[in-house]
Amino acid sequence: MKLYCCVALALMVAPALAAESFETRLSPSPLTDGTRINVTGEGEVRVSLDGNKLTVSGDFHGLASGATTAALYDGLGIAIPGPKAFDLTATPSMAGTLSGNVTLTAKQAAALRAGHFYVQIDSRLAPDGNLTGWLLPPHPHLAQDEPVAGPGVMPQFDVKQK
């Protein structure tokens, strides 16, 4: 099995000395043809981890109804949902900003580095999730139709060799 770690998530080996960055695109939460009319919008979130201090900032727009809550969640893995970890502050409207300052435990910091953390914004018409994005280390945002060498951006789920 060839493991392509184009997005380096192996930083959990040792705490970094400098602030670490993470980012995500916010996109409509899990939806169906029946809910997509209410599950709209997009956004971006940037996160800085300095020691155990996490600073979150971001923006969003295009919601079909006003944002009600925003939070950081600690998933079971990349793209695998889990419980809420921290509340964030979001503008209570269809476009705006979100922010937060929280302190992570060592275990939470490791989970963040492994790609388990995600941001979720709920809204009035999508109370179970309107926008979601998994926090990953900064990675190239490839241009449309422009070939790159290798497999491209591919977050690496922690596949283990037996």
């Binding site: 099995m1 793209a79 949902p81 419980p83 979601t132 497999p151």
Partner: protein
């Protein structure tokens, strides 16, 4: 998203709700009464007259429907039906019709009408008004025999040879021709027995491809999914259409020579076989009503026909056929109901249509592999369809087929425990003379997410190593020794979180612990989702560069296992789905990548918003071709992935690109097509702003100017 987990509904809770007095539904008796006829006209051909579901059309009444929908709102049901139904033609009916159909579906689940008409905006929890018990009055009559699916508007007309004509001459197709096809021909699904989808033609090059022009085009039957491969022999194109219509066209001019509308009109989502087969003096047509026809290649007249399986029980064939040493091998699809029968691959004498052998793709009790189904009774072991015709190694006299996942989709719904559910999601190596199994390899033992490993098997030699490569919905490119079936290597082509271990010696994957522990009612994440990874749009193997160029799709799903009543005649997929963006993709659903099959390393890749909906063609001119959901057909440089030329076509570019030559001139042919299953359905949900017309099946042929 997390709240969805907490909101998981278990069947017991829903059944308990039936004891509670139901509120009146948010619709009137007039709406439900009128909805009955509208349901029959627009929905019953797929979902069944008794709303029991069939194939990929889920049940719309009873415990399975209530398990999926009980805790959801009437607004969501209305929005879903309006946005996506009839299949492939969402928003094609007026709002009053959608409201009436939804009212009828609710009433068919025991909901009682109220005084206020349904608007679609009511957020009433369905379990509060319905219990899944169908009143007699709601039992819709069956659609008239042969009724077309009105919303997809198959044109009325007679069946049979509708355009009589005859080829001036026809050189019968021999075993030697199939094993060593002329450069100018495209005699089978993937052009050669090895499944390469590669043309040795080199008139169109990286230098001149920018000059490509439309040579001719041809409108094909609408009214059903169309993902076809044109077959070309000696300047004649044999084309399969919706409604099992076959046409012979002059491949240089597009002039129709003969047409046989075998029929029947399409009654389900899948409308046309993916590929015809040629052998001797005949064209072989596996049909959507699970028959196999042998047509006279010169005239299109039926020479013989045989029943593969009973279409009245839901069986079908859309995967095409392969001709091997005087036998026509076909698969079978829609084996997802609980029955005493099971899916199989079968072979027929090319001269007579007489069945030669059958290989059942489900291991029953007492048979080898029969102990991999958690001791389920035989009738509850279903699935393992063969959606794609196999490939063949003449030297080894072995044919290679992929099988689909077992049914229902999830372990919890199937009650199959951790069993591998053989021979689902496997590569099968069969003796084409006898149908005997030589070896098998299970790529995803006990599959859980509608992640088939059923697609193309590509045969490649690396020195003395004879390999078979395949890639399925998880997006892992597998390499096996095709003599022994032993695992050799694998490569991950896009993000996946389904497996957390892959044995480097055996290739056996291990599902995540939460997947293994999932119960009915749990929402479980899967990346990729059911559109793949990789789906039926096939990869191409370029032998000059040892490259597989692979179309990929990047999205994820939360899937919930639904309960499935263990009863003969009941069945389906039993999985609810909610789609979301794959992390790290910036919302790009489409990805095209090229892998060296010796090193299993990616040479290049690029991504785009729209997913690719055609198989890839590579050529000796160094040019590759591929089409997409957003109507673009493009040429790329095979070695770099750089786009060299592109054009927009009338609707989604879907099917299999081929190349052939007539009188020394090279042509590139591609289909525009509708339908196409998950590779079309999922992006339709995820990219509501990208539109293409809901008609427009057709063939487009390009060439360099004279």
């Amino acid at each position: 998203m997390t709240k969805l987990l907490a909101a998981s509904i278990f069947t017991t809770a829903l059944l308990g709700a039936s004891a509670v007095a139901l509120e009146n539904g948010p619709f009137t008796a007039e709406q439900a009464g009128g909805g009955r006829a509208l349901f029959v006209a627009n929905c019953a051909s797929c979902h069944g007259a008794r709303l029991q579901g069939a194939g990929e059309a889920p049940p719309l009444a009873g415990s399975t429907f209530m398990a999926a929908w009980g805790n959801r709102s009437t607004e969501e049901l209305y929005n879903l039906v309006k946005a996506s139904m009839p299949y492939g033609n969402g928003n094609s009916l007026d709002a009053a019709t959608y409201r009436s159909i939804v009212a009828y579906v609710l009433s068919a689940n025991g909901a009682k009408p109220g005084a206020v008409a349904l608007t679609g905006n009511e957020t009433v929890r369905i379990a509060a008004i319905a219990d899944g018990k169908m009143p007699v009055i709601a039992d819709a009559p069956a659609p008239a025999a042969g009724a077309a699916r009105p919303a997809t508007s198959y044109p009325p007309g007679r069946f049979g040879v509708t355009v009589a004509g005859s080829l001036k001459s026809y050189d019968p197709v021999t075993d030697s021709m199939l094993a060593h096809p002329k450069d100018a021909d495209w005699l089978m699904y993937r052009r050669n027995y090895q499944g390469w989808s590669h043309s040795p033609l080199a008139q169109v090059t990286t230098g001149n491809v920018k000059n490509l022009q439309l040579a001719w085009s041809w409108a094909m039957n609408d009214g059903g999914a169309s993902e076809v491969t044109p077959i070309i022999h000696d300047g004649v194109m044999f084309l399969s259409n919706v409604a099992n219509t076959v046409q012979a066209l002059n491949a240089a001019t597009g002039e129709l020579i003969w047409e046989n509308r075998i029929g029947p009109a399409p009654t389900r989502a899948y409308g046309a076989t993916r590929s015809l087969a040629l052998y001797g003096d005949k064209v072989f047509v596996p049909t959507t009503d699970a028959k196999l026809y042998g047509l006279d290649a010169k005239t299109g007249k039926i020479v013989w026909q045989t029943v593969i399986e009973d279409a009245k029980e839901g069986y079908s064939n859309t995967g095409g056929a392969i001709a091997i040493k005087g036998k026509i091998l076909v698969g079978l699809t829609y084996c997802n109901r609980y029955e005493t029968k099971h899916c199989f691959i079968s072979a027929y004498d090319a001269d007579t249509g007489k069945v030669a052998w059958r290989f059942k793709t489900i291991a029953l009790k007492g048979e080898p592999g029969g102990d991999t189904w958690n001791n389920l009774p035989d009738e509850f072991r279903q699935g393992a369809e063969t959606w794609i015709a196999g490939t063949y190694d003449p030297d080894l006299n072995t044919t290679y087929w992929g099988t689909a996942q077992s049914k229902p989709w999830t372990r919890a719904s199937r009650d199959s425990g951790a069993g591998a559910t053989l021979y689902a999601n496997s590569t099968l190596a069969l003796d084409p003379d006898s149908g005997k199994l030589k070896w098998f390899y299970s790529h995803a033992p006990g599959e859980n997410f509608d992640l088939d490993e059923v697609f193309e098997r590509v045969l490649v030699d690396h020195g003395d190593s004879k390999d078979v490569l395949t890639i399925g919905k998880v997006g892992i490119l597998w390499k096996l020794n095709r003599v022994t079936g032993k695992y050799e290597d694998s490569a991950q082509t896009l993000f996946q979180n389904v497996f957390d271990k892959i044995d480097p010696k055996t290739g056996i994957p291990t599902y995540r612990k939460d997947v293994q522990a999932a119960k009915v009612g749990d929402w479980i994440s899967s990346c990729p989702g059911p559109a793949g990874g990789h789906d039926w749009p096939a990869s191409s193997y370029d032998p000059r560069n040892d490259l597989m160029v692979i179309p990929l799709h990047q999205s994820c799903v939360l899937m919930r296992a639904e309960p499935m009543e263990k009863k003969i005649g009941v069945g389906g997929d039993a999985g609810s789905q909610r789609l979301f963006e794959m992390p790290g993709t910036d919302g790009n659903l489409g990805k095209l990548t090229a892998y060296n099959t010796k090193t299993m390393k990616a040479l290049w890749s690029f991504q785009q918003k729209a997913p690719f909906l055609t198989g890839v063609l590579t050529t000796d001119g160094g040019v590759g071709f591929v089409g997409d959901f957003d109507r673009r057909f493009r040429a790329i440089e095979t070695l770099t992935g750089k786009t060299l030329w592109q054009t927009r076509l009338p609707t989604s570019v879907q099917g299999h690109v081929v190349s052939y030559a007539v009188d020394g001139k090279q042509y590139i042919a591609v289909e525009t097509g509708l339908g196409g299953g998950s590779p079309v359905g999922k992006p339709t949900t995820l990219m509501p702003g990208v539109h293409h017309p809901n008609n427009g099946n057709g063939i487009f042929v390009f060439a360099l100017p004279d």
